[in-house]
Subunit: 378 residues, 2 copies
């Protein structure tokens, strides 16, 4: 028998409560698995290589009676999130031992897939809900199932499937393809990284690079000098540390802006957006971790009419059918050319996964680049 530790979802945090390790999520080191003999039931056995702590994980922790954009977790089952796995054995024709796969996977080392135990939408024993019982337009996160991805064969590290080629990169890509009016010479504001404000960008690094590829000027915010340097290295024209320079002052200095991805500093952005421009709001909702009464309240909403602005909220799964093909065609080709880069911030060991997740959810991570929990590989 082989040890198979997992990160278990213990208890739902209250509305506006930041989850706590030991109280809401916990590492359970006791499970074991017989890798050679565990029945596959027509499925396949995977070994987790990397896990991606992502903001939607917080949304999935809420009580299922609260309508939101994701289906929720089951208490007592493992956390589920995007990850990269290696196939060890398979009984399926379209999946082979040695394949790499990317998609939603439980936070444990070895898994018989497709994994159903923690999947709320699967209507089996003791499961409280069925897909059709969810509020309309709730996205079934578990439908983002594992799929085989090309073996990069050394052209890029596997971790890119979680950063540039994962949901963070796809979010920025979709934002530009579907929503941003990306015109050469216009200025875009890309925000990321602050806590306490309403909304944060999901992949500021990808957004910066896509904006530069389209010939835009980029104003970008981050919460540390190291992150500011990283943004500058990616091509941002005016990166600034919002802990040293206020959003209002920075945008007054570098603005006016024509477009806004992310909306971290949506209020300051509303003030700086030129008339008839657009704010595209995606990604993290740090407001989930703040009690409703303490949530940041927008003071510049009246400018939406005065400036004839358009605000668009989106989540990436809504656009996957339309844009995933184009994304996989264009982005991997740009990576080896060096036209799209990213840094990943690796933490090793599943035992560290709970803490890395909390750091991502509270937005206070000092990590430069996409946080990734490395289990094996690379």
């Amino acid at each position: 028998m082989t040890a198979n530790p997992r990160v278990v979802f213990l208890k739902r945090p209250e509305i506006g409560e930041l989850p706590v390790v030991g109280r809401h999520i916990i590492l359970d080191s006791s499970p074991t698995i017989d890798l050679d003999n565990v029945p596959l039931n027509g499925g396949f056995l995977t070994m987790t290589l990397m896990l991606s702590p992502e903001p939607s994980i917080r949304d999935r922790m809420r009580d299922p009676s609260i309508a939101s954009y994701t289906t929720t977790f089951i208490v007592g089952a493992p956390i589920i999130g995007p990850g990269i796995v290696l196939v060890l054995r398979s009984e399926r024709d379209d999946v082979n031992a040695g394949d790499y796969m990317y998609g939603q996977t439980p936070w444990e080392i070895y898994t018989v897939q497709p994994y159903v135990e923690g999947m709320f939408c699967t209507n089996f024993h003791n499961r409280p809900s069925h897909p059709r019982e969810w509020a309309p337009d709730t996205f079934d996160m578990d439908s983002l199932a594992l799929r085989v991805v090309p073996n990069p064969n050394g052209r890029y590290p596997l971790s890119k499937y979680i950063s540039l080629l994962g949901t963070p990169g796809l979010t920025a890509f979709v934002g530009f393809e579907a929503l941003v009016d990306a015109k050469e010479g216009t200025t875009i504001f890309v925000s990321s990284g602050a806590s306490g404000l309403v909304i944060r960008a999901r992949s500021s690094s990808m957004a910066i690079q896509l904006a530069k590829l389209k010939g835009m000027k980029v104003v970008a915010s981050a919460g540390s000098d190291a992150k500011v340097n990283y943004m500058r290295s990616l091509g941002a024209d005016f990166p600034f540390n919002y802990k040293k320079l206020s959003y209002d002052d920075a945008l007054a200095q570098y603005g006016p802006i024509h477009d806004n991805v992310g909306g971290e500093a949506l209020d300051a952005a509303l003030d700086s957006l030129i008339p008839k421009s657009r704010a595209v709001i995606c990604g993290v909702v740090s407001s989930d971790n703040v009690p409703p009464a303490q949530r940041y309240r927008l003071k510049n909403a009246h400018l939406i009419m005065k400036k004839r602005l358009e605000l668009r909220g989106f989540i990436v799964p809504d656009f996957i059918p339309q844009f995933f093909g184009k994304f996989m065609e264009e982005v991997p080709a740009l990576m080896p050319q060096g036209k799209l880069r990213s840094e990943e911030y690796l933490t090793r060991g599943i035992e560290n996964a709970p803490h890395v997740l909390i750091d991502v959810l509270n937005g206070r991570s000092d990590a430069v680049g996409k946080p990734i929990v490395m289990i094996a590989g690379d």
Copy 2:
């Protein structure tokens, strides 16, 4: 000589200050005019029949150094706003004595047109600005010049040119034609009339009727029982008095909503809008009359992303070139059929115009229907 009283713009109110009669605007009864001999200089002489106090008048009072959506007034010149005039004499081929005209006109009884004294964009003696010096996308309100309108010949009162056929009606029409996703059986929330909140609808009566013509369900808010009854008479399915029932409670009861015109109770609307729907924000900015620190702050902005909402701010002049023809083709025909109705709240005498204007700007008017200052006619 004939008396020609006028309403003069005396002093710019501070940011967030409600203008006061006697301090910021004042009736000047001293001017006179020689109706038979005043030189027309190739123009025409008009007599004002009706004036329309409108919210954009407040925006035009601001200091010109503050960028916004309108050009500003000149201190010492008359207030300018939409009105209906009768042509008394003309030296122009396309304008004849006896014609009715609708458009921007100074708040006085008799005027040699085209009027230029108070028009900020006209670059003559002692005028501080030229059109090209305004911030981009500032709309030159004075370009909404008087134009000849058909004599209704008793089919409808002239006052309809200010309500259903004027900017209030046009705003709702444009909202529906260009921006609202008006589908049969869906629910729309039309708000109006409250003070203290961010944004108010401009013509809730027209919006209600257009929504009903398109087979939508209409939830509508107003600030008095008389207004609620009026909304019900126009076809609103769930009109409510927001002074008796909170927006949150009302929308929880009558929602969820698919669309939102106006945005008076934008916050409650964000909470009630179903995912992937749209809020269209037009019309009054009562926030102009409230000090910035006391402005209503939006608590539900995070829902823009979670619900994948689209917020669209607009002002009607941006859409006039595209939609004015269709508007004048469709709406006058629907009025005699009784398919589009409106009430007008008439106050007689230019001496009452300043007070009626302030009532409109502070949103506290108890008037049911469109407030109109009647000078002569009908």
